[in-house]
Symmetry: C2
Subunit: 167 residues, 2 copies
DNA sequence: CTCAGTGCAAACCGTTTGCAGAACG
DNA sequence: CGTTCTGCAAACGGTTTGCACTGAG
């Protein structure tokens, strides 16, 4: 209810520090957006964020949300995702396992996070074999989550009747 | 030079078979688009395709290219990619290692293909641990390719000066 | 001949940008 | 107070869609 309640999530202060380091103003809107992102562990779209901010009594334009997310991503406090839905999602990188990967259910769209320690060795092998210097990776496994399988969901098959490999 | 030269790439016939199976007409345009996709092992954008078709004397609208690519993807002869460039790329799945992954250079944008057999065990482990039923995956490793490293390229760092992990 | 496909141009939609007015420092 | 930000709305760019016309079967 307080209209000028300060951003409450402690991690918002980190963002404020980043902004000050960059000589950028720490505005009420930027703190509000950061607070909304840090308030959940979900993967939020810009529309999700706008809705939550509005519910919290904040009236912040989409442009400002986009501009603030850019800053959050640059600060490395937030990570951008594209799960092929036609828009981006954002998740903060604090208080959880860093550098996790994603299981994405093709039925319900739900996202589960997993650790994939095997990828370190894989990246080292690839670097050794190809000379490529890896910086970051993106692993997404698409399929059916356990609840959707239990509910009887299956994946449609529409390809050529003759397996391609037989060509 | 022949204006109605038949689509030449043998794999185009496979696409024709798919279309017939689905009761869809095999049109000159569909064959031309398929031929352009099968003619290279590169990862082509729709603009790339339109350009190549035009160079080959074909005058095919973008809408038809998009609609034909949908069919090619449905037939499983072609795979769609999104490397975060703001548009999609397409690559055929014939005559090359199936189910490969991608190394993407952040400097020159070049894409290299690699096999990652480790991922099979990883997916099985994840399935066992979470009950998730994997269908397909997408692994992209971003970094610097060997030539760009040799040319002295480095990756810009802009995040918080204090490592996040220290929080 | 009939029905689906094609081409054009307009619509779409997530995202970006320009600009007048409001805040930060 | 000067500089940067904000909000609005218009612009953008890849993709999709509506519709009259063409072409495959």
């Amino acid at each position: 209810m307080p209209s000028d309640a300060p951003a409450v999530h402690p991690f918002v202060r980190l963002f404020g520090r980043y902004l000050r380091e960059q000589g950028l103003p720490v505005t009420q809107q930027r703190e509000a957006v950061a607070d909304a992102v840090f308030a959940t562990d979900e993967h939020l779209s810009v529309d999700d964020l706008e809705r939550r901010l509005r519910q919290g009594g904040e009236r912040i334009g989409k442009a400002t949300i986009y501009r603030t997310l850019d800053l959050l991503v640059k600060s490395r406090l937030v990570q951008e995702h594209d799960f092929g839905e036609g828009f981006k999602r954002y998740e903060h990188r604090l208080s959880r396992q860093p550098d996790h990967d994603h299981l994405i259910c093709l039925e319900c769209g739900g996202v589960t996070e997993v650790k994939s320690p095997e990828l370190r060795a894989l990246q080292e092998r690839v670097a050794r074999e190809t000379g490529f210097h890896p910086s970051r990776h993106k692993l997404e496994i698409y399929g059916l989550c356990a609840p959707c399988q239990a509910a009887g969901a299956t994946l449609a098959e529409e390809g050529l009747t003759c397996p391609i490999e037989a060509v």
